[in-house]
């Protein structure tokens, strides 16, 4: 019964928190509205998300977020350097193929989002079977090191969290 009413408990919890951030005040009325939304939205959208996402270590997700924020800041300076100081015909843009060990769709979308948001790399496509990602790198003199960094820094952590 409870499982059918809340097909995605994490999503419901996130919606409650989001609603409180949106109204920016603590009132009982807001809590009622938040619970209504947290019930209706997962039910309406459950047809497109049939399986429940399994997160084995939710707390590690926080550490992962902090790591990604830090990498976004560092990578921004690197890309700013590429745009401002490297002559335009010397910018070595490359395609990189990253084979995936992850199987959970939620983990793969999180990895793809991480790759796009850290400036300098862009998730461009996925293989038809879902076992590899196509990544475009703005300036990669050594494409193998970029691939290894994505696999060791992000994918290994996501694998520990989701699988």
């Amino acid at each position: 019964m409870l499982k059918r009413l809340f097909p995605h408990p994490y999503l419901s919890l996130t919606l409650v928190v989001l609603w409180f951030m949106l109204v920016n005040q603590w009132k009982l009325g807001s809590l009622v509205m938040a619970i209504i939304l947290a019930t209706i939205l997962p039910l309406v959208t459950s047809a497109w998300w049939p399986n429940r996402a399994r997160v084995h270590h939710p707390l590690r997700l926080f550490g992962y977020t902090m790591l990604v924020f830090w990498d976004i800041i560092v990578a921004n300076f690197q890309v700013a350097y590429v745009i401002l100081f490297i002559p335009r015909d010397k910018v070595q843009s490359r395609w990189i193929t990253v084979p995936l060990d992850l199987k959970s769709p939620e983990a793969i979308s999180l990895l793809a989002g991480t790759i796009t948001m850290t400036p300098g790399t862009l998730t461009s496509d996925m293989s038809a079977c879902g076992r590899a990602l196509l990544i475009h790198s703005l300036h990669a003199p050594d494409p193998d090191s970029v691939r290894d960094q994505i696999k060791s820094r992000y994918e290994a952590r996501l694998k520990r969290i989701f699988e």
Binding site: I83, L84, R88, S93, T97, P99, M117, P119, T123, M126
Partner: protein, 125 residues
């Protein structure tokens, strides 16, 4: 609030506005300067991450020196940008690949299957 703390917060706000503006400018400059479509796609992901993020952080604590409170709504804008920007970037990249306007010599996927955009069209389920 002590005057020292007040000055410190004002400095953080100023740094956020100037720094965010700088990175948004660099992102736009990259859009003009880089020659190929796939390279230009890198610029918007930059501007949304640090450029908008720093400006929103400054806006979030903007009321503190006058004795106000921290506003949470700006964090939501950052969150929604972080969620939606990769999806629009992926759509643009897939469109470029499908129209053949992306960089040439796309490598093999290494899985025995083609890339999803270039594979055979499947009927809607």
């Amino acid at each position: 609030m002590t005057p020292v703390l007040q000055t410190a917060i004002e400095l953080v706000i100023a740094a956020g506005l100037v720094g965010g503006g700088f990175f948004a400018l660099v992102g736009s400059w990259g859009l003009i300067r880089l020659p190929r479509p796939m390279q230009r796609l890198h610029a918007p992901t930059k501007a949304t991450t640090i450029g908008v993020g720093a400006a929103l952080l400054a806006s979030s604590i903007g009321d503190l020196p006058q004795g106000g409170t921290i506003s949470i709504q700006e964090w939501l804008i950052t969150l929604f940008l972080l969620l939606t920007a990769p999806i629009s970037a992926l759509f643009l990249a897939k469109t470029l690949i499908l129209r053949g306007e992306a960089d040439p010599d796309i490598p093999d996927s290494g899985t025995g299957q083609p890339w999803a955009t270039l594979g055979q069209e499947r009927p809607d389920p």
